[in-house]
Symmetry: C2
Subunit: 490 residues, 2 copies
């Protein structure tokens, strides 16, 4: 190993599952997050940046086993502080922050948080061990007005970053309705409840008949394997199927179907009432069901949340890796989880929130052409005479003062071809050239690299031949002519 050999060269490599982000990858994400932060802020949410490192004890869930904590987090033993770990999401730290600072924080406390989280998982294609999350949560508000607000804010966020109305849908369901369904089924045993939940999760794949089979005796799946059923009676499956297929033509039809599905269950009725309130609040604010809709087929997260759950889907179509059309799919989700702070203080504190999938939403913006134009590089001022570096620096300073991104070539200027190759690699729109001859004449050469690339691509077209991609202009006009090229008016 490294210790035996004498100073071997280290490998220049990120650890597996980690990566670096370059240029526009960084700035496009930063711009998107800044736009989202603007919406959160306008809704009265306050920024929070909690420590990236937490005690394993405060993070919870991942307590040290014998030697090392469980898989799932990156953890290490600190000499003074015991086991420490990198946060694996932004919700567990919110619980710790709220418990720690609750005397100073307003109640309710609306906060947003954005930043990297770390997961100690096996990396795979497109699956990283460090990635961004972007959350907004309201702590201490029991009213479903808080849930409705989060849904409205999420819709505003999507439109603000560039997802047009009609290209997204926020679907809302409620865990309490599902609890009502379990009541109506007379399923009280926890294990059986969990088995019903798992079956509901398969509705998308196996459909109504499949769910009935899986709740009953079992089902032969496509691969020929026999999947054991939950073992319920045939009639017991009715409320589940009624629940899963309750989506009506409008919210009131859906709500009526749900009321039927939960039967006489109190918690079920409470859940339907909550959905009705949410629909009413959103409707009054102008968020109609083409943007935010009650939809009982949203089952993701139902096992985790305790009340309303919501999921934002992008409904426009993209081509998958095999060239087939499919909907873009989910970019955000959330819901109500009322035991957030209880582990710390013993007291239940209601909370609701949403997490936006940063990488997914960025990918969607690229699909829609709403971002990705940031790739234009700086104007490159070439160096023809290395003793006149001050002149070239003055030229870039002038360009920058005019708000134009510009740089002087700082490599070895001997080979002019290398300077143009550099400009190409920088994706420079313009190169500026001032040799001794130009200097004497009081002019500079301006090379329109966008037009130059166009001409190179369309070399056979006569029309391009007449348009020079390089021309001489008086030194005093440099900034104006570069500006004209950048504005597409050259």
């Amino acid at each position: 190993m490294a210790k035996e050999k004498k100073a071997p060269r280290p490998r220049a490599q990120t650890p597996k599952g980690f990566r670096d982000y370059f240029g526009a990858e960084v700035t496009e994400r930063a711009d998107m997050l800044a736009a989202i932060a603007g919406v959160y802020h306008r809704y009265g949410f306050e920024a929070l940046e909690s420590s990236a490192v937490e005690t394993v004890e405060a993070l919870g869930k991942f307590l040290p086993d014998v030697e090392r904590p469980n898989e799932g987090v990156f953890a290490w033993q600190d000499e003074d502080e015991g086991w420490l770990a990198l946060r694996y999401d932004l919700t567990a730290p919110l619980a710790r922050v709220y418990a720690q600072h609750r005397g100073d924080l307003p109640l309710p406390y609306r906060r947003y948080a954005m930043g990297p989280v770390w997961r100690n998982e096996k990396p795979g294609p497109g699956r990283f061990r460090q990635f961004y999350q972007c959350d907004a949560d309201t702590v201490g508000a029991a009213s479903v007005a808080a849930d409705a607000e989060i849904c409205a804010m999420l819709a505003d966020c999507l439109e603000t970053v560039g997802i047009p109305r009609g290209d997204y849908l926020i679907r809302v369901n409620n865990r309490k309705v599902l609890n009502g369904v379990l009541d109506a089924m007379a399923v009280t045993d926890r294990d059986t409840q969990a088995a019903v939940l798992r079956t509901i999760d398969k509705f998308d794949k196996v459909g109504e008949a499949g769910v009935r089979e899986l709740l009953g005796k079992g089902r032969l799946d496509a691969s020929g394997a026999y999947i054991d059923g939950v073992g319920l009676g045939e009639a017991q499956a009715d409320p589940v199927v009624a629940f899963l297929t309750s989506k009506g033509a409008d919210a009131s039809a859906t709500l009526a179907n749900l009321r039927a599905a939960v039967g006489a269950s109190d918690v079920g009725a409470e859940g339907v009432d909550e959905l009705e309130q949410i629909a009413g609040l959103l409707d009054a604010q102008g968020y109609q069901h083409d943007r935010i809709d009650i939809d009982p087929s949203v089952v993701r997260g139902l096992g985790y949340y305790t009340g309303p759950v919501f999921e934002a889907e992008l409904t426009f179509e993209i081509l998958d890796e095999k060239g087939r059309k499919r909907q873009f799919g989910s970019v955000a989700g959330g819901g109500r989880y009322d035991d957030l702070v209880k582990r710390f203080t013993g007291q239940p504190v209601p909370a609701t929130g949403v997490s936006i999938g940063v990488d997914r939403l960025l990918a969607a913006l690229r699909e829609k052409g709403r971002t990705g134009q940031a790739g234009v590089g700086p104007v490159v001022v070439t160096v023809m005479d290395r003793d006149r570096m001050a002149d070239y620096q003055t030229m870039v300073a002038e360009l920058r003062s005019a708000g134009i991104r510009a740089e002087v070539y700082l490599g070895n200027p001997k080979n002019f071809g290398n300077q143009l190759k550099y400009a190409d690699k920088r994706n420079a729109p313009v190169a500026v050239i001032e040799g001794a001859e130009e200097k004497a004449k009081g002019v500079v050469q301006i090379k329109d690299l966008i037009l130059g690339a166009e001409i190179a691509r369309n070399a056979t077209l006569e029309e391009w031949k007449d348009r020079p991609s390089q021309y001489e202009v008086p030194r005093a006009e440099m900034v104006a002519r570069v500006r004209a090229i950048l504005d597409g008016q050259a």
Copy 2:
């Protein structure tokens, strides 16, 4: 320990040396960094966000000992990847990134990076184990034009974030000049060279006579302890003192003094030439010596860097904790370090860069009143009738559409006093009230909380008595009247 007791409550506490940032603390820093990123970008620098986690091998310097890596970094043993660690700065990752991606990156490569770094050190007052760095570096440019550019960019950054010209000075020195001084002293032994460097570092404290003593036989310090000297001859101290006191009335005087100090040393002459070029380049671009100055008394970092070094100082005065005036001091520093990538590739790659002390510069902006105004909270719409939540949500939606930050009270609305206390805690400028009576009359009550606080503070002043801090306005005028209060025109 945690395992013996049954589910004890975890402590809600950040690990020692870590902290959370709330509201304006987060957004003011984000705004400052965005402004700096704008300057970096205009200079042609590209954003880079490298992985927070690196292999210990790639980070270097901190190699695993027997069981655990050295102090200084947070590190842990990964099952597949060996020892991993959190980055302790942004320069070591740049070296790894450049070595890993050099085939794809432009040469020279200008990049900036901003983000948290982690140090496994004993925490102390104001000393944290996670903090922000903000760096810009040019890799692969041997020319001192790259160093001059960094200095100019640093000046632009300071002015852009709100440090006025005259309140800062960027001082430039050169390690090669110091090497020339060592030549002139005929000190070739590495240990003696290091001892001379350590002595130079004490110049600020002990002055010229102290430096002479410490280079010679030794010195009795203020505490009565005798500090052994380096043991050089008296004449050998002359070049060091000439170097440290070479600052002249202008750059050319300083450069002449430095030429004398380095005598016949080639590397010394090269160092002085470089400083002369830097001064010339900056002067040509309009950065006179009131902004960027050649100053051989800058010794911080001279041991680390290989060529030009620079330090940005804020020259305005503040009161220290004992109420004494002192200069604000250093907020950024950097220099040339030409062995950046060599450990990975075996080939030396020239590099130069700067690191801005994010927390220091933020503190300076607060001192200057350039930030800290972000503390105004949202307009709070109170809830008088919990069944009319939709009305209140519609009111905040209207305010937000007008670009006004607003929220509805989401706690238990029973006690109206609590709602006003909440508005106070939120630092709300305005509260809006619409009870059943107002609703019937088509009006709302607007409570000017800024004016209210003013009146409370100046309760004896008659003039305030006439200005009501709460008044009734037609519901349709709500947005306009709130806007008027926020604009100070009410």
